[in-house]
Amino acid sequence: MKRIITLIALFIVAISAAQTQFEQGMGKAFGLWKEGKNSEASAMFERIASAEKTSWLPNYYVAMVNTTAAFSEKDPTKIDLMLTKAQDAIDVEMIKDQSNSELYVIQALLYTAYVVADPMTNAPKYSSKIMEAYAKAKTLNPNNPRAVFGEADYQLGGAKWTGVDTKPLCAQVDKAIELFATFKPETPFSPKWGLDRALETQKSCKK
């Protein structure tokens, strides 16, 4: 009996140690990201991805870090490099699992970064891909607030130019905010971003 208990105890220790390593690693990477050390954070997530082949999160964050960094980057060569890196990371996870709603959201966000970088060239090229990715994300999880918000936000961004009716889009933003309230991330590291941006968009909707 004691031997069994010992074994179980050992097993738990081993598992919790492993979890700790993942959590520590992820925690460290998030820390770097928060400090604005994007390339270090990306490198850390990349290393975690190489060790944790079963988790999609490290690669998701490689894509996330590089995509968000690309939004504020001015140099087109760097933007290309960052987005290529992000795309490679998404591709790795997309092959493993094509029914992860969040992966389609990050894919849509990545395309959006291309559009923001050079709207005249890239809007016609990526607009429908963006809409397609959000649509797919919504089909896979209709309650994903990032998918609902992202889809509305992208169209609102172009509304000034395209003359699309903003009312239904703003209603979608409101709906997304409700979904954010009820959204429970599966793990502590699962994506949970987006509420702040949605609240801002809601404000400009009401103007």
């Binding site: 004691k2 081993a14 060790a51 140099d75 429908s128 809409m131 397609e132």
Partner: protein, 721 residues
Amino acid sequence: MTTKLLFTISILFFTTVIFAQNTISGKVVDEKGKPVPGANIYIDGTYDGATSSETGEFSFETTAEGNQFIVVSFLLYETFKKEIDVANYKDQTVKLRENVNALDAVVITAGTLESGDKARVSVLKPLDIVTTAGSAGNIIAALQTLPGTQTVGEDGRLFVRGGEASETQTFVDGLRVAQPYGATTNNLPTRSRFSPFLFSGIAFSTGGYSAEYGEALSSVLLLNTQDEPDQNKTDIALMTVGLGVGNTQKWKKSSFSINTNYINLAPYQAVIPQNVDWNNPYQSLGGEAVYRYHFERGIFKLYAAFDSEKFDLNQKNVNFTDPIRTDLNNNNFYLNGSYKGDFGTGWQLTTGISYGYSKNKIKYDINDVDTNENAAQLKLKLRKNISNYFKLSFGADYFITKFNENFKDNVSIDVANGYDSNIAAFYTEGDILFSKNLAMKVGARLSNNSLLDETNIAPRASIAYKVSKTSQFSFAYGDFSQTPVVDYIKYSKYHQFESEKAQHYILNYQFTRPGQTFRAEAYYKDYSNLVQYDTRDIAYNSVFNNNGSGYAKGLDLFWRDSNLLKHLEYWVSYSYIDSERQYKNFPTMATPNFVANHSLSIVTKYFITDWKSQIGFTNSYSSGRPYNDPNQTQFMNGKTKSYNSLSFNWAYLLTTQKILYFSVSNVLGTQNVFGYDYAKTPDANGIYNRQAVTPTADRFFFVGFFWTISDNKNENQLKNL
């Protein structure tokens, strides 16, 4: 027992926490030994790693044991992976090789103007074809705003660097299009058969192109159909010149797009005064369809286009008192099936077949001319990536052309002329990247033409050197040959003709910065073996020889900028050319009538967000063109006044999916003269009378309403205009 358990646990805990730690350290450098900061160094499959410092140095501890893989990754370089003993990896230097596929690697640009997704430096963006004022959705008209082309308003086809229009070949997905232009007659401009709608990439080479392409003396125009359409949608177009309907369906691995158009110029011809007298307006019914299927490692595409055109008009002719009637019917069919895919390691296969059929029924005055052309091509191309630094391609082409013409004057003459031509060609080409800054392409093409009974070998070579982040030089050389045009070889007997030949030398400088491109290209072209004949018109009894020759030399400049003002894009093209030929029935060396020494195009596009509008202007200028005045002793001594046309377009978005489009060409109403036709015989006073060759109308205007129906409300047809 409890102590024992605790002991075990603590042992286990220690094993994970302070298991024998090894320090890994070293420095990351590039090929020149310069430190590389920001590289990610780690032991594969572990969390252990570091980012290299400003001095390229790194150091970290790992709990991994024995032999492990160390990975050093950084986007600009090839990822380094090596098996190491973790206990003995200290102060090592890791040399990263530059990734030659990185975006800033050198690309050979001599002669080539590219547009599209894959182009590294886009001279034209895909949207430009349709949003350039004056282009009216005609691919050729948009290309005529680029340097190296000549505006030949009475013809409409592409004339490149002193070459005849027939010296340019068009390829769709790598396969030749035997009849790329709509049917036309005397001095009525034609347009490209292809709507820009289904193409995602265009490469237009004004010389020195790859050994993959043959049977073109001057230029190749490569059109690539989209691999993947955006989405399911229906497009509807209501225009002052006709109707158009398109639909796209997308499935998991395949997709299908179809486009149909009915064009009738009667309303336009009723409103705008015409310089000719139409019995029946220009009408055409056409459609194109593409089916695409994606395999695991390849894509199959089937493209088919059909169109039927007719018109009937009376044109004044200086040789006759009454206008001459032309009644034309043309049916054209084009089919193209291609497969492109990867296999094995680093192999790429491109194969396909194309078939074109064109049937013309022309009534010219009392004469009947019926022509039939069947043209097919088979193609196979293999490419092997031997390394990132060397790629080898080789392939074979087989062209089959059957042409028949029946001529009846409905009095006494009833003759048939025609020819069968088979051309087999093989080519091979190597792409060598010496470094990120130096690239070379060397190849040769071997072809055999059964009709001419001749074998040709044509070497091609080009080299590019990048001098700085923004500038590069390229040089290209090539030998090119082409079977003489149908007008001659339909009279071919006993293999009497030889291929016409040209040699190109091109020196190119390119400067690119985000939003800005500058190109300067100097070239020299040497023509030989051109066909000559001894009669006024080409006829069955003409005596032909291949002794003609000529040259073309010039300078092409191009500047494109989108940084000057927000929402403004513009480009400027200037071409200078000096060209003379002794060919056809020219008595001496002379500049042919399609060559203008100076050409200048300015294209602007301005987006006005508040008006939800895009407004564009295009101004095309070319200096006078030569013409021959038989009243003068010197051949080709005349020169027309210069040509100028200012075009304007306006796209207005009613809602996202509904667009109103307006365009007008030659806003200023400039009275352009393309040349003069002289009477074949002098009048009573011994003077040869003449008649100016002018556009069929001074202006063209167009109003259209375009409606897209799709789930994605952002999609519209702006890109099709």
